[in-house]
Amino acid sequence: MRLKHVLLAGVCAVGLSGIAEAKTLKMAYDADPVSLDIHEQLSGGTLQLSHMVCDPLVRWASDLSFEPRLAESWERVNETTVQFNLRSGVKFHSGNTMTADDVVWTFNRLKGSPDFKGIFEPFKAMNKVGDNSVEIVTDGPFPLVMHNATYIFPLDSKFYEGKDEIIKHGDSFASKNISCTGPYTIASREQGVKVEFARNADYWDSNSPGNVEKIVFTPIKESPTRVAALLSGDVDFIAPVPPTDLGRISDDPKTDLITKSGTRIITLQLNQQRVEAFKDPKVRLAIVHAINNEAIVEKIMRGFGTAAAQMSPKGYLGYNDSLKPRFDLDKAKALMAEAGHADGLSVTMMCPNNRYVNDAKICEAASAMLSKINIKVDLTTMPKAQYWPKFDERAADIMMIGWHSDTEDSANFYEFLAMTPNADTGRGQYNSGNYSNADVDAMTEKTLKMTDDVERAKVLQGIEKILYDEAAYVPLHWQDLAWAARKGVNIDAVVNVMNFPYLGDLVIE
């Protein structure tokens, strides 16, 4: 131990004995939030920040149900209207009291944000119904009102008055200042280096068990350094944890490792426009049968994932229990022969090399597996910055895409990855395979208007089945999530599959 730390510990022990301890959490993620404007970019980083500095109307509980936050209760008034009753007496960091006006103002700002307007598009309006309630009106029946309400983090409309512009690539008041209702305020921020959070003394949620007074957030880009910082005690909590270090962290008596099965699906898409053979479902089925995704999870991901046969992860309405991974080399060969491609094919493949966990290695493995059925793959991997423009161009016959549903609902997967690409509606925007099935299109549109969960689940699962039977794409796995912390920092209780830990409720022993 460093001398200075010994001295410090001594001083603290003397100085603090008898006083209730103010806990400090030192944490490191791979990147810090891009902006303090929580409406500027729809990303994991923004949502993580939102849950520290703000509160949503409702939030996800660990069983994927909805937990009341700033909305105390809600009720469906009719097919197109849901009313939310707001908690009263909640103060913003500025000292202003939250009212229905703030919530309506926040909603309208979200509708104007380039990143969030897509999610809020089905919502026609939010109306104030008295000082402490609002109602959301949708265009037609819409099943995801509650899902989307998790994105409404009421902001202090008076604080932003006249300075509320959302600017994506330049300076704005909102990108440097924030007034919200959450458990922490921003004490200081040096972008890319450090953010310090201080506990909000007037926090409305007096039932929160959280005892962290101060958070020092440092981005540490390099995974080995991030892990070293935890193991050496320089930080208390890190995420993400690279698969190579999972063993070391769980074996270390001083640290805890928490993993959860994630909701991000990793897939390969087979471009039917570029390769005539991919139009034949038999060839696509052969490819799915040739790729041993369970082996990829075991060997390359080191168990840090769940082999998939569909897009919806377990827990989602669309998850179809009957669909299983189906590696079978003989069958794959037979299918290739049946399709008249026994002597094989020659195709190109492109993958990112710094976007998903082990992305480039997964693609190398997949191309090796495809060579077993005589499909010769010319693989190119590149950093994500170069990959996305290539993806937009549909520059290769097989391309990798991972997807996390912004709404935590199955339909989002089909909307973006499986529906027929249509530039006007934006459907199928990430369907680089150009797979097209009128049934899938119609069923997906239908599920966006159904409000009965039981019936809706049937349709969603039906879509998964069609995609599976037709081998619309190659499902690989759902990437796991991992967090690691020093023992005594009870992150287990606050982390979730959406990967925005509720740090306001964190308890440090």
């Binding site: 131990m1 460093r2 200075k4 490191a28 891009v34 902006s35 970019q41 729809l42 990303s43 380039p114 990143d115 307007k117 897509g118 999610i119 600017i167 994506k168 690539h169 330049g170 300076d171 704005s172 990108s175 040096e190 972008q191 890319g192 280096v193 440092t218 981005p219 540490i220 880009k221 390099e222 080995p224 350094t225 991030r226 070293a228 910082a229 193991l231 050496s232 005690g233 320089d234 710094n354 950093p383 994500k384 910055a385 170069q386 990959y387 996305w388 423009p389 937009d392 997807w403 996390h404 912004d406 989002n412 973006f416 530039a423 934006g426 925007q429 990430y430």
Partner: protein
């Protein structure tokens, strides 16, 4: 050297620098289309292509190359290198904010390199076959062969994780000097934090310099004038450390100055591994985020640093070696 000589030399250098900067900006600007699409990093996954294109239009990214470059160069000559997408501040300001961290790291690494390479180089040249020499030369081979980032990761693992002597990342506490320079060299915590990064950064250049000084020194010790000095009865000590060493250092300075400049390139790796908040780390992040204004500003600033350091080397060179005149100077 006469004052007019110096003025003419500096003027010529200034013209050269301007030309170099111009070429760099042109090259930097023309590769930006291959760096990726900045919009991808600015917006979320489900934003529509039409929406992205509208933003691209608004940012002027859809304009023809010459118009974009013309706009850039007009602003650049007025000292405005563009605004970083990520930091939302002028790119120049962002880079200058990070400059002290990188400068101090390079400074300490340079001190380590000079402080160790001269005595070790001289020692190994004089005691050619001693055991210590063999050990030093052995280590220098390892130092040259192992990449900086690997050295850095090993250093963190051994000294931070296993032994717990050193902090694993970052710059620690800094002390604000009056002219806005945040110095990590003036606090105990800051000094603790700079040890591992500076050693890692010097790990390639130090062995190189030891070998260079050794080779030069051995050559000088064989020359006629050294033999003559000995024969004349001068003390060995004086011959070695005054006459021989002085002549050894002339080529070392000229090569060394240029090599110290390339240390800046190595800071990219070192700073990334140690999460050191300097320019190198900033640059790598900017590349990942396709923050093109910041990338181009960095390339220009580093180009400028190279020009300045090479100019200084030339000046020092003429100063320690009076037989050399400025090339093409007034004779």
């Amino acid at each position: 050297m006469k004052a007019p000589d110096l003025a003419a030399f500096l003027f010529r250098r200034l013209l050269q620098a301007a030309l170099v900067m111009f070429v760099i900006s042109l090259v930097g600007f023309s590769i930006q289309d291959n760096l990726g699409d900045p919009l991808r990093e600015l917006v979320g996954q489900s934003v529509s292509e039409a929406e992205r294109d509208a933003l691209r239009d608004q940012m002027g990214l859809n304009d023809p190359f010459l118009i974009q470059y013309g706009r850039f160069i007009t602003r650049a000559v007025q000292g405005d290198l563009g605004t970083s997408y990520f930091f939302k501040k002028p790119a120049l300001e962002v880079i200058l904010d990070k400059f002290p961290a990188t400068f101090e790291l390079v400074l300490v690494a340079t001190c380590i390199i000079i402080g160790f390479s001269v005595p070790l180089g001289v020692y190994t040249a004089i005691h050619r076959d001693s055991l210590i020499t063999k050990i030093i030369m052995g280590f220098s081979i390892i130092g040259i062969s192992v990449p900086v980032f690997l050295t850095a990761i090993f250093a963190i693992y051994i000294f931070s994780v296993l032994l717990g002597w050193m902090p694993s990342f970052g710059r620690g506490d800094t002390y604000a000097l009056p002219w806005g320079w945040e110095s990590g060299l003036l606090t105990l915590d800051g000094l603790e934090h700079i040890v591992l990064p500076s050693i890692a950064l010097s790990s390639i250049m130090l062995p190189l310099f030891i070998r260079l000084i050794r080779a030069e020194m051995m050559e000088v010790l064989q020359t006629e004038y050294v033999k003559y000095a000995r024969a004349k009865g001068l003390r060995t000590r004086r011959v070695r450390y005054v006459h021989a060493l002085k002549n050894t250092l002339i080529p070392v300075v000229s090569l060394g100055g240029v090599k110290i400049g390339t240390l800046i390139a190595y800071t990219i790796l070192t700073e990334t591994v140690f999460q050191w908040p300097g320019m190198g780390f900033l640059f790598l992040e900017a590349v990942n985020r396709v923050d093109t204004p910041l990338i181009i500003a960095y390339i220009i600033i580093v180009g400028l640093i190279f020009v300045i350091s090479n100019t200084l080397v030339d000046l020092i060179y003429t100063w320690i070696n009076p037989t050399i005149k400025f090339v093409g100077g007034d004779r």
